[in-house]
């Protein structure tokens, strides 16, 4: 195993740990806004993960997934946030 491969291994491990930590926040809550923030952060982490996986899988097609995911998840987050805004706290 070369040094570059070892470094990529470390990077993927850190990504996995980041996903698990974000998941922990999603489970613990305590309220819906916390979950929304956790989901937003997890989305961007997933975008980075997709980009990091792309050279390993060997095709630029996988970058498109990261692009579409990054942009569309933003739309979803904004929609949910707007509903919190108009809905208020009850």
């Amino acid at each position: 195993m070369t040094l570059a491969e070892l470094l990529q291994l470390v990077a993927l491990t850190l990504f996995a740990a980041a996903i698990l930590l974000g998941l922990l926040r999603l489970v613990r809550g305590p309220a819906t806004p916390d979950r929304l923030v956790a989901a937003d952060t997890l989305t961007v982490i997933a975008t980075a993960l997709l980009a990091a996986l792309a050279p390993r899988l060997g095709s630029a097609l996988y970058l498109d997934v990261a692009l579409v995911y990054g942009v569309l998840a933003f739309v979803g987050v904004v929609a949910l946030a707007r509903i919190i805004e108009t809905g208020g706290v009850r």
């Binding site: 990529q8 291994l9 470390v10 990077a11 993927l12 491990t13 990504f15 996995a16 740990a17 996903i19 698990l20 998941l23 999603l26 489970v27 613990r28 809550g29 305590p30 309220a31 819906t32 806004p33 979950r35 929304l36 989901a39 997890l42 989305t43 997933a46 993960l49 997709l50 996986l53 390993r56 899988l57 095709s59 097609l61 996988y62 498109d64 997934v65 579409v68 995911y69 569309l72 998840a73 739309v75 979803g76 987050v77 929609a79 949910l80 509903i83 919190i84 108009t86 809905g87 208020g88 706290v89 009850r90």
Partner: protein, 93 residues
């Protein structure tokens, strides 16, 4: 290959926890967020399984449209409810 296995394990945890949260959360907005996260995990899984086209569709439908639709439907039906303080929700999962 072990690192990729770790990522896959984390994704499986994401999928199962997200699905359970979507079922068990009382708050419908929280459930919508959990559903979007499940589709995130599925999308990354499709990429790992080397199916970029399926992953692209899953990302478009799951992340953007389903979140938007669920949120709009919840608002139209008057079913949203935001709880800021700690509540019984926390014990749910």
């Amino acid at each position: 290959m072990t690192a990729l296995d770790l990522v896959i394990l984390a994704l499986v945890a994401l999928l199962i926890t997200g699905a359970l949260a979507a079922m068990l959360l009382r708050n419908l907005l929280g459930a919508a967020v959990a559903t979007a996260l499940v589709s995130l995990g599925v999308s990354v899984f499709f990429v790992i399984l080397r199916a970029p086209d399926v992953a692209l569709t899953e990302a478009a439908v799951g992340a953007g449209l389903s979140g938007l639709l669920l949120a709009l439907a919840a608002r139209r039906l008057g079913l949203w409810r935001i709880e800021v303080q700690q509540s019984e929700e926390e014990r749910q999962c």
